[in-house]
């Protein structure tokens, strides 16, 4: 520092650049702090959330008995068996991903490679708009359109696992489409031209060269879709039927982990309330498993 000040006072021709550097360093330090604070805030909130759910949920789980809690099949105000909701969440998510991902990925391929420019100018904002629609609106749409159709076609009450699956399949589309499209677009054009030059058809070049090259990006879109499907609450609660019973079929009602929390949180107290927080713990573990799988797959991919 002293040296720089001295230099500034000396006013030699070589000094000014040094002084300039010193100034920038200072600015940079402040900005460094700002960015650090930003990163710190998001990490801090994550840490606080983890502490909150685990300190509130874990004691109840052990007090009640971990196996009874996870593998019990009865849920009411005094008995807390979470297996129906765990199975419900898994089945609904698998169904939604099984239905939504093929549609989403194929839409992405179409948008990136086959779509006429004019249609794209309409399609792209439409997909973005889909991502912006509040989930309660999706839920209302499903309640008035999907549920009565299911009731009409398959019988049963209509509020069912199938309704939740169809609804979530639609809701994960924007995530899957946007990310997959970006992944496909980021594949170097030379892959495509190379394949074309070797005599492959347009379609073959895309499906055998470009799409496999975008595999990792497409996969991450699927993982995010799974995350959205398993975490969605307000829309699902409107159409799923919400019976705390083991899933009995596609046209029968089902309760997921998230809807279990939102249905009963307003009234719960004591151990019942802790059991709902513990439901959050299980949900959290699920999300961690999904993200870890994703990370492992990505590292393998990179190797």
């Amino acid at each position: 520092m002293e040296h720089i000040n001295e230099g500034a006072a000396g006013k030699t021709k070589r000094r000014p650049p040094v002084r300039k550097t010193a100034k920038t360093d200072w600015k940079e330090k402040i900005m460094h702090g700002v960015f650090f604070m930003a990163a710190f805030t998001s990490i801090l909130s994550l840490v606080l959330i983890v502490i909150f759910i685990f300190t509130n949920g874990l004691p109840m789980m052990f007090e009640y008995g971990l196996t009874d809690f996870i593998f019990g099949t009865t849920w009411n105000r005094t008995t807390f068996g979470l297996l129906p909701m765990i199975t419900g969440s898994i089945l609904v998510t698998l169904g939604a991903v099984g239905l939504g991902v093929p549609i989403g990925v194929m839409t992405a391929v179409f948008m990136a490679e086959f779509c006429p420019k004019r249609l794209y100018a309409f399609l792209k904002p439409a997909v973005n708009l889909m991502a912006g629609i509040p989930s309660i609106v999706y839920g209302f749409f499903a309640l008035r359109i999907i549920v009565p159709q299911i009731r009409g076609i398959f019988g049963g009450p209509g509020n069912s696992m199938l309704a939740a699956i169809l609804l979530l399949a639609i809701m994960i589309l924007p995530t899957v489409i946007s990310l997959s499209e970006a992944a496909i677009r980021s594949v170097p054009r030379s892959y495509f031209s190379g394949s074309m030059a070797l005599g492959a058809s347009h379609e073959r070049s895309i499906f055998s060269v470009v799409v496999p090259a975008a595999k990792s990006g497409i996969f991450s879109s699927i993982v995010l879709g799974v995350g959205r499907a398993i975490g969605e609450t307000m829309a699902v609660v409107m159409v799923a039927g919400n019976q705390p019973l083991m899933p009995r079929g596609l046209t029968e009602g089902v309760r997921t982990l998230t809807t279990n929390i939102v249905m009963e949180m307003a009234y719960a107290s004591g151990q019942h309330r802790d059991a709902l927080v513990a439901t959050g713990v299980v949900l959290f573990v699920f999300i961690m498993i999904i993200n870890t799988t994703f990370l492992i797959m990505k590292t393998k991919e990179a190797k």
């Binding site: 105000r77 006429p116 008035r144 549920v147 509020n159 919400n242 019976q243 019973l245 719960a268």
Partner: protein, 302 residues
């Protein structure tokens, strides 16, 4: 040329989509009108679709209690019933489904639902006031010992036209349809009132307390929701000025208090789709239905 084909295919696709939409639209509409004009479409062999409120809801608790389906901490309402969150969700589920049966607050009834007679009595405010409709309960307020001036004036307010109008606003049935107007607004009152008891009565009295404190800003009213049992006990023991209970007092309790009066009434209607041929049920049948003892509509209608 190629461009033309592309354009044509897009137009074709759009047209097909639109046609499909229009198709489902008209189908839905015709379904609706069919149901409206012809009740004969009702298929008795279809399963009942039970619709209930979520565990912990006051309406569910009251319904279970009044139909004899309460059993300690957990009620006996079939877990297979579709659980909907909130009165509106139940109403729209039943209004949409020809084979659904649910229950809702009498105050929330409208044309999209058909309320079932219980033992031949219609679910309406008149019958609830007369005490003829059985799935109803009194929201009682209780005086243990004599009230001081401030509490006595609040008591007057609860049973005045202004107080009873608040009952209606909160969504329950006023107990006194031609209550006198409140006369104490010019009084210079100050002090505090303690009200204690039923969680169901709480929103009614709390709303009244807020309105009262707007007139008399020097009066502090503390309303606590502690449950009907605690409300009765605190009134008898004198730990609070006024007690609240969503049930009627037994003879022993009545003998220990100065006055018990219903400040509001709460009725729960059993509802089905307007095209459902069901008209009347007995209390036992209602209990059996929601316990899950019937599987198809034929079990009830035939």
């Amino acid at each position: 040329m190629k461009k033309h084909i592309k354009l044509l295919s897009i137009v074709g696709l759009a047209a097909t989509t639109l046609a499909a939409c229009a198709d489902t639209g008209s189908e839905g509409a015709s379904n609706g009108s069919d149901g409206g004009s012809n009740g004969g479409d009702f298929d008795n062999s279809t399963n009942l679709h039970l619709v209930t409120r979520e565990v912990g809801s006051g309406t569910r608790d009251a319904f279970a209690e009044l139909t004899g389906l309460d059993d300690g901490d957990n009620d006996l309402i079939a877990p297979e019933a579709t659980a909907q969150q909130g009165t509106n969700a139940v109403n729209s589920t039943v209004a949409d489904d020809l084979y659904a049966i649910g229950y809702t607050s009498v105050g929330a009834l409208d044309d999209s639902l058909k309320a079932i007679q219980i033992d031949g009595v219609d679910a309406n405010e008149e019958n609830i006031l007369d005490g003829d409709y059985e799935i109803a309960r009194n929201f009682n307020v209780i005086i243990g010992e004599d009230l001081d001036d401030v509490a006595a004036d609040f008591w007057e307010f609860m049973f005045s036209a202004e107080g009873q109008a608040i009952v209606d606003e909160v969504g329950y049935i006023p107990s006194d349809t031609d209550a006198p107007a409140y006369e104490g607004s010019d009084l210079d009152l100050s002090g505090s009132i303690d009200v204690n008891g039923s969680t169901s009565v709480y929103p009614v009295v709390e709303a009244m307390a807020e309105a009262y404190q707007e007139i008399h800003s020097d009066v502090q009213i503390a309303v606590h929701s502690t449950g009907s049992g605690a409300g009765v006990t605190s009134a008898i023991e004198g730990t609070s000025d006024i007690g609240m209970a969503s049930r009627d007092l037994d003879d022993d309790e009545t003998s220990q208090v100065t006055e018990v009066r219903a400040v509001a009434l709460d009725g729960i209607a059993v509802v089905v789709h307007p095209d459902n041929p069901l008209e009347s049920l007995s209390m036992d049948q209602v209990a059996d239905i929601f316990r899950g003892d019937f599987s198809t509509w034929a079990d009830i209608l035939d």
